[in-house]
Amino acid sequence: MASARISAPNPSAAGSVSAFLAGFRRILRDPFSVAALTIYLLLVLVAIFADQLMTHDPTQILFRANGRVATNQPSGGTYLLGTTNLGRDIYSQLIAGSRNALMVGVTAAISVAALGTLVGLLSGYFGGRTDAFLMRLADVALAIPFLPFVIVLSGFFRANTWNIVIAVALLLWPNTARVIRSQVLTVKERAYVEAARVTGASDMRILFVHVAPNILPLTFLYGSVAIGWAILTEAAVSFVGFGDPSRISWGYMLQDAFVSQALSRGSWNWFLPPGICIILVVIAGFFLARGAEEVLFPKLRS
């Protein structure tokens, strides 16, 4: 989504790891980026310590002292966020959902970033037929409606979280690839790349030693936006009923709340928290992109 915004990256960004670190330090000075990194850090910590944080088994049916199922309990007390209409602890589900979010987000981010970067690098560096072919492929991927594609994929294969990750990777790489490609086009004209070529460095060496480090910030940027996309997609697919039925995710919780009419019962304690968690993680990606905008467009930094 941020393609146009960063489609003209600053050509003066230095071409080395130290410049990348400098950019990272600059990011740390941006409050949005700090907020984003804090959210990510929290997500990772919650996911790692989920077993310690959960108060109940998120899938277990809970019973009250009188032997009846603990349905629709309000928040507070034993059940921090209350219970579902089938007697599961909402807070514990929320914590369990962080694992799924992290897993889906990170794998989608890595695959989108890796695929997009690789295609962008090859396309930009080699140009000619390679470029034409890869960019055609990108056009085709962009012409496939995203959510319907994921729904069809999850509907016909056994509904599975990995299908969502695969679909995200298959359809979201072109945006990354296009931006990376245009960046590569400018970087490869630079003197030190020329110098490396004259000294007889191989294409691969030039590509991965001299060019790639320059575009790493962009890769991270697109990766972080892909985290959000993947989580949102998982939620939407779950909502229409094609989610992974055996894995607790925030999207699963929302669908569960939706079909059991949490809103008609006024169970906002059930419907709101997963949505807010999704917003936080997705927005972290946007914040990071926005923070990076300041890095990539230093002109605005005045």
Binding site: S3, P148, V152, L263, I279
Partner: protein, 322 residues
């Protein structure tokens, strides 16, 4: 002219590629098209008959040729369950989806562009510090989640809008135009279109804002400022016009997400559109119908992309000659 032809050829190529992917997707997938036919009476012969009726018993390449040939003639095949041509099923849903999409997009882009331009003049203020995250948050929230909240508040609690559907029960109209132009239809359209718009406005808003910021730093704006033109005049006459091009590009890119996103909005608001058809067709393994719905959504996407391309080339001659 040659630019237009080049774009057209390109679109046709993309269309062919999408059709091929679509074919492979539906034929190579696991899942039994007969699984939905739970029927005591379905003998093995009947199963074979159904497979034959839908051409599922031929070799793959033959099926492919037949499929493409039929598509070229506008024949999307027969729905497994409805036992009628897929196109007849889709054509009743297509206008609803187009109207919802376009209304949502227009609201989002008009609002987003205006608000974005305005926000650019507020750099460094509290307003910016509050509104930018808000815009991002609506973009980051699941559409169905926002939709359900709107529905609960404005339909269930206040009763300002109907709870779902595209028309009041049993409303009769003389023609399709009459129907979609009625007040009743508009009333039913408000909440779904608003949900869609809330989701979509973030991109034009932020994009407009950042390109405006860039342009406001350019020399010709500084010149104008020196000349003593009012900030409003500068914004409207100089900056906004230049900032629009990337927004137009983003519009095209956003279409894919919009048409896809309809799927969930249509479910929340019981909106009888293509997205819901697709979902139910996939749930029932009605391959021809799912394939047809998918194809139509892709086709709309490709056509709109082409239109945006052409408009863009016309707006910015550098593109068509580049």
């Amino acid at each position: 002219m040659s630019f237009a032809l080049r774009r057209l050829a390109h679109s046709l190529f993309v269309l062919w590629a999408v059709v091929t992917i679509l074919f492979l997707m539906f034929r190579l997938m696991p899942g039994n098209p007969l699984a939905a036919y739970i029927n005591e009476q379905l003998s093995e012969d009947d199963q074979r008959l159904i497979m034959a009726q839908f051409g599922l018993n031929r070799p793959l390449y033959e099926q492919y040729v037949i499929y493409v040939w039929n598509l070229a003639q506008g024949n999307l095949g027969m729905s497994f369950f409805r036992r009628e041509p897929v196109w007849d099923v889709l054509k009743s849903a297509l206008p609803n989806t187009l109207i919802l999409t376009i209304t949502g997009l227009v609201i989002a882009y008009v609002f987003g562009i205006l608000a974005g331009a305005w926000l650019a003049t507020k750099r460094g203020t509290i307003t910016e510090a509050l509104l930018v995250p808000t815009a991002l948050a609506t973009r980051a929230a699941p559409e169905f989640w926002i939709g359900m909240i709107l529905l609960t508040v404005f339909a269930f609690t206040f009763g300002w809008f109907p709870s779902g559907g595209a028309n009041s029960a049993g409303a009769a109209y003389t023609s399709e135009w009459d129907r979609v132009l009625s007040r009743d239809y508009a009333l039913h359209l408000v909440l779904p279109a608003l949900t869609l718009a809330l989701y979509l406005q973030g991109l034009p808003l932020l994009l407009m804002r950042s390109t405006m910021l860039e342009i406001l730093h350019d020399e010709f704006i500084t010149m104008a400022r020196i000349k003593g033109l009012s900030p409003w005049r500068i914004t409207i006459h100089h900056a906004a016009r230049n900032a629009l091009l990337p927004v137009v590009t983003a519009f095209a890119l956003g279409l894919g997400a919009t048409l896809g996103g309809n799927v969930v909005v249509e479910t929340v608001f019981s909106w009888p559109g293509l997205g819901r058809l697709l979902v139910s067709a996939v749930a029932q393994s009605d391959y021809p119908l799912a394939q047809g719905a998918f194809f139509l959504i892709s086709l709309v996407l490709i056509v709109l992309n082409l239109a945006v391309d052409l408009v863009y080339g016309w707006l910015d001659p550098r593109v068509s000659h580049g």
